[in-house]
């Protein structure tokens, strides 16, 4: 058996398996009579899982080309499948981000979830490991394995702890995503039959005709576009967000949507570069529709969660827009936007969760004047809303600004259209903040609200710091990805069409 591990201890494997093992332990011992112990154990698990991701940040070599922290061992020899892990500048930040958001989710559920605590916590810990696996996998089948496996815990999370219409949402989530990924499976097998290997890096070098490239592009596109989600296959997201429990929404928006966007970077652009270039106008148009049209849709929402869900679609539109303009600035901007959106959208859903736990309503109309009763909360909520509309000094600004700069380089009109998103973003975020936080108290339940407790303040405070740090000093984030993005674009610029003899 051939196996190589460049780092000792194997940080990537630990990042994947530690949360899964903790999740299984929590599931095994957990009963609601022992809820207190389960919560502590889950928090310990989430924190311990965060530990192996720290060296990934500190020991990452920014100047190196190719994969780092590589691990490779034979897995299914019959099909030449390897347990192959590695990260580069494109994927590095998502692993600590996932582990970090999991900690926040565990904290957010502390007093809120009182039924089947162990199953809730266990599902999130397992989900965390699986999502890290998606970002770290360098073998096509291993990627698919993790990508699909994330459906199971998320399906259960939405269905068990969700709102009134949770069953509809859970089915919609499962079937939409399953549909997309099954076509990807066909594409992956096709690439294997063609190349005899499941190594993603080998696929990067595989010559493919235009017809094959377009077919494979669409097969990947179905899975990733559904996951991102892009217009017009975005309809599952608002339904799912509204029904999912707070933690589920936070993980979904913060991490799960990024799996799709990451897929574009790892699969679509380098494996089928010619088709990506050819079909880029389509993706750009769809992204612009997401940015502008979905922005307008967000404006008219009456339900806070739905509003933030639509704003997520608009922000993810920025990400795909950035990726398909094929210049450094835009692609980096897209990745920064992914990380930043992870913090901001997670925080927005947690804020709504805080309100919902007190009022049991998500309707904007039921609120108003919250600042009078919850000043600390109001300050944080306004900060995240500002970040959501891309105010300078918050992380939201960095990504959007870079994408817009890239877009202007690419095509002036595209740049202008993309920039309108800042206006819509400001409109829907601030208008919601105005209606919820400010004004006179009209609802007597708002009268009875109590401000955030220490636990809630802690979780929102950490996120606020992250948002500000990333906004004020984005260099550590962008430095890491520069080399990888440049390599990716150089690779994507080369045609992979087989050379036909004249």
């Amino acid at each position: 058996m051939q196996s190589t591990i460049n780092t000792l201890p194997p940080y990537l494997s630990l990042s994947i398996w530690v949360p899964i093992v903790f999740g299984l332990i929590v599931l095994a011992i957990g009963r609601d009579t022992r809820a207190g112990m389960v919560r502590v154990l889950s928090l310990v698990g989430a924190l311990v899982s965060l530990v192996p991701t720290i060296p990934l940040m500190t020991q990452f070599d920014k100047a190196a080309h190719g994969m780092q922290f590589v691990e490779k061992a034979a897995w299914i020899e019959r099909f030449n499948i390897f347990y192959s892990l590695g990260i580069d500048g494109l994927s590095m930040w998502f692993i600590p981000l996932t582990a970090f958001i999991t900690v926040i989710v565990v904290i957010s559920a502390w007093e809120v979830i009182t039924e089947r605590v162990a199953q809730y916590m266990g599902a999130f810990l397992i989900l965390s490991g699986l999502m890290i696996g998606v970002f770290a996998a360098m073998d096509g089948l291993l990627f698919y394995f993790f990508f699909e496996a994330t459906l199971i815990p998320m399906y259960i999370i939405i269905g068990v702890w969700g709102g009134a219409n949770r069953i509809y949402a859970a089915f919609k989530f499962f079937l939409y995503t399953f549909f997309g990924s099954l076509l990807t499976l066909v594409a992956i097998i096709y690439l294997y039959n063609k190349s005899g290997s499941f190594d993603i890096l080998a696929w990067h070098k595989l010559p493919l005709t235009m017809g094959e490239q377009v077919a494979i592009f669409f097969a990947f596109f179905m899975a990733f576009a559904v996951k991102v989600p892009m217009f017009p296959v975005h309809t599952w997201l608002p339904d799912v967000h509204v029904e999912a429990p707070t933690g589920g929404s936070a993980v979904l928006a913060a991490i799960m949507l990024k799996l799709g966007a990451y897929g574009f970077l790892r699969f679509s652009l380098p494996i089928v570069p010619d088709a990506s270039h050819k079909l880029a106008p389509m993706v750009i148009v769809l992204s612009l529709i997401a940015v502008i049209y979905i922005g307008l849709v967000a404006l008219v929402q009456k339900d806070m969660k739905k509003l933030v869900a639509y704003s997520s679609i608009a922000h993810m539109g920025f990400v795909t827009l950035g990726f398909f303009m094929f210049n450094d600035m835009a692609v980096q901007g897209g990745i920064v936007q992914m990380v930043s959106h992870g913090f901001i959208s997670g925080a927005m859903f947690l804020c709504i969760g805080v309100l919902y736990d007190r009022m049991h309503s998500r309707q904007i109309a039921d609120y108003g004047g919250v600042v009078n009763k919850m000043p600390k909360f109001a300050a944080l909520f306004i900060l995240f809303s500002m970040a959501n509309c891309g105010l300078p000094a918050t992380s939201g600004f960095v990504g959007e600004f870079m994408v817009i700069l890239g877009a202007v380089q690419f095509n002036f009109v595209t740049g202008i259209l993309a920039a309108t998103a800042l206006i819509f973003g400001a409109a829907y975020s601030l208008w919601m903040a105005k209606r919820v936080i400010f004004g006179a108290i009209t609802n007597k339940h708002v009268e009875e609200l109590t401000d955030v407790n220490n636990r809630e303040f802690l979780m929102l405070g950490i996120l606020a710091i992250a948002v500000l740090v990333m906004g004020l000093y984005p260099a550590p984030f962008t430095d890491v990805m520069q080399v990888s993005v440049a390599d990716l674009l150089a690779h994507a610029a080369q045609s992979k069409l087989p050379v036909v003899a004249p």
């Binding site: 299914i76 199953q119 993790f146 699909e148 459906l151 499962f174 066909v186 097998i189 077919a215």
Partner: protein, 494 residues
């Protein structure tokens, strides 16, 4: 050739002797000591497994009785899984059958004896290298199963199911026999190796050959339960007592798979162009009708019956994909993926019917989907187990079902049939809907019935191992895939 060589038959001989002994011993046992029959039956399976395992590790292909009987790695591997399935079935079904008067009382241990005879029939089918041996094994298995379905003779539904199973089963056997007689007419031999050689020589009358082939394929499709020969499956699965449903939905599928390989792949590979087309139509129809009809079911056993039809579609896809030029490696890859799929299907199905029997109690069948409502509140462990099995049937990683689907799809795509692959995955999507509905019922709904589950420890342990196997073999499918591949390569070369 040594016609008196009985070594390759030791497993069958042992099973026959042991079964006869159990039949005798059981007559003299007092009612309270019926557990001895159960223990002896399981011990018999272990003994037979010992012989087959020895043959399997030897890894050679041996013939006996003038080439009528073959012992090869593929056969021995399938036999080992048949014993395993049978043992699990008997463990799961013991309490259930006792509660329903099928075990003990007037009937004594006949349940076990008939089950063992059906297993003997399956072993003969698996090891058959002659049309007559195939038919002999098939009838031994079928007759035992007819009797088993009818064991609860005072139950109207069971009797109806037995009648249906008998008539349609007899019809299928007739089809098969008629087809075989045509093939005999065309080739002048009953020996499978001889048939292959004769067809390969190109001197066979193609009309008679194709005519016979159609009937053989129809007979096999009947036994597998592929559309349009599937009508008996839902009725019999639903009507038969659950323990017996498992006896006819579990191990027999492996034996039927084996005779498909023996007849079509070993016997008629030169005529593959013809049967490949037929299998494709059967597979496509099975996938479509099985999956679509399963959605409408409210009875879990009936739903699993339609799901079986769809799953058999995948097995047929794997069998169909094996003929790519004369490339034996690719051929073996496809047949071994079908074999892996069949094994996966059986392990998963046994577990799911086992769980239906966990929920059943005296006077209550627990076979409606709604009977599983809120199972996660009554017993999180069993709900988790059932979820694992359902996700496996749906083909979601990390369960075994995913590895199996992947292997089959890989072989189908290797033949260049992109549309067929896309068709198959789209119907997997349809299938996912009704499988995850079971998960939904167990986890998202409130329990309608909060009777505590009473599960004997042996059954609990075996069920847990069953679920664990589905996960572990899904995460580490390599060794079993390799074993299937090696066995099929051996089969194709000889």
């Amino acid at each position: 050739m040594n016609t008196t060589n009985l070594i390759p038959l030791y497993a069958e001989v042992f099973l026959l002797i042991a079964t006869s002994a159990i039949l005798l011993i059981d007559m003299f046992l007092a009612e309270g000591k019926r557990a001895i029959t159960y223990m002896l039956t399981l011990a018999t399976l272990v003994g037979a497994a010992f012989f087959s395992f020895a043959d399997y590790t030897a890894g050679s292909t041996v013939y006996a009785f003038s080439n009528m009987f073959i012992s090869d790695p593929m056969g021995n591997l399938l036999k080992l899984f048949s014993y395993l399935t049978m043992a699990m079935t008997l463990v799961y079904a013991r309490q259930y059958s006792t509660d329903r008067g099928m075990l003990g009382g007037n009937l004594g241990g006949e349940f076990y004896v008939l089950a063992l005879f059906s297993l003997l029939g399956q072993m003969v089918m698996i090891s058959a290298n002659n049309f007559l041996t195939i038919y002999l094994g098939l009838e031994l298995m079928s007759l035992s199963l007819y009797a088993l379905v009818a064991l609860r003779r005072d139950d109207a539904r069971a009797t109806e199911a037995a009648m249906k199973y008998f008539i349609l089963g007899a019809l299928a056997s007739g089809f098969l026999l008629y087809g075989m007689s045509m093939l005999y007419g065309a080739t002048g031999t009953l020996d499978i190796t001889g048939v292959a050689a004769k067809i390969g020589s190109g001197t066979v009358n193609p009309t008679i050959l194709t005519f016979g082939l159609v009937f053989v394929v129809a007979g096999l499709a009947f036994k597998l339960g592929a559309v349009p020969f599937h009508m008996w499956v839902p009725d019999v699965y639903q009507g038969a007592p659950t323990g017996v449903t498992l006896l006819l939905g579990g191990a027999p599928k492996l034996a039927t798979f084996a005779i498909c390989v023996r007849l079509l792949v070993e016997g008629m590979r030169p005529a593959a162009g013809d049967w490949q087309q037929m299998l494709m139509i059967l597979a496509v129809l099975s996938l479509a009708i099985g999956n679509l009809t399963a959605i409408a079911q409210t009875n879990l056993k009936r739903m699993l019956a339609y799901s079986t039809i769809a799953q058999m579609g995948f097995v047929l896809l794997g069998l169909m994909a094996g003929v790519v030029g004369h490339d034996t490696t690719k051929g073996a890859a496809a047949y071994s993926s079908a074999m892996y799929y069949a094994i996966t299907y059986v392990l998963t199905t046994v577990g799911s019917f086992g769980l239906i029997m966990v929920l059943a109690r005296q006077g209550f069948e627990a076979e409606e989907i709604n009977d599983f409502k809120g199972l996660s509140k009554r017993s999180p462990a069993y709900a988790l187990l059932m979820s694992v099995l359902m996700f496996s049937l749906a083909g979601v990683p990390p369960m075994m079902g995913f590895a199996a689907k992947f292997a089959v799809l890989q072989s189908v795509l290797a033949t260049g049939a992109v549309w067929l692959t896309v068709f198959a995955v789209m119907f997997s999507l349809v299938g996912a809907f009704y499988y995850i509905r079971i998960v939904k019922v167990m986890w998202f709904d409130e329990p309608a019935d909060s009777t505590p589950l009473v599960v004997s420890s042996d059954k609990g342990i075996v069920l847990a191992l069953n679920g664990l196997a589905v996960v572990v073999l899904g995460m580490i499918p390599g060794p079993l895939l390799n074993a299937c591949m090696a066995a099929m390569q051996k089969t194709l070369v000889t």
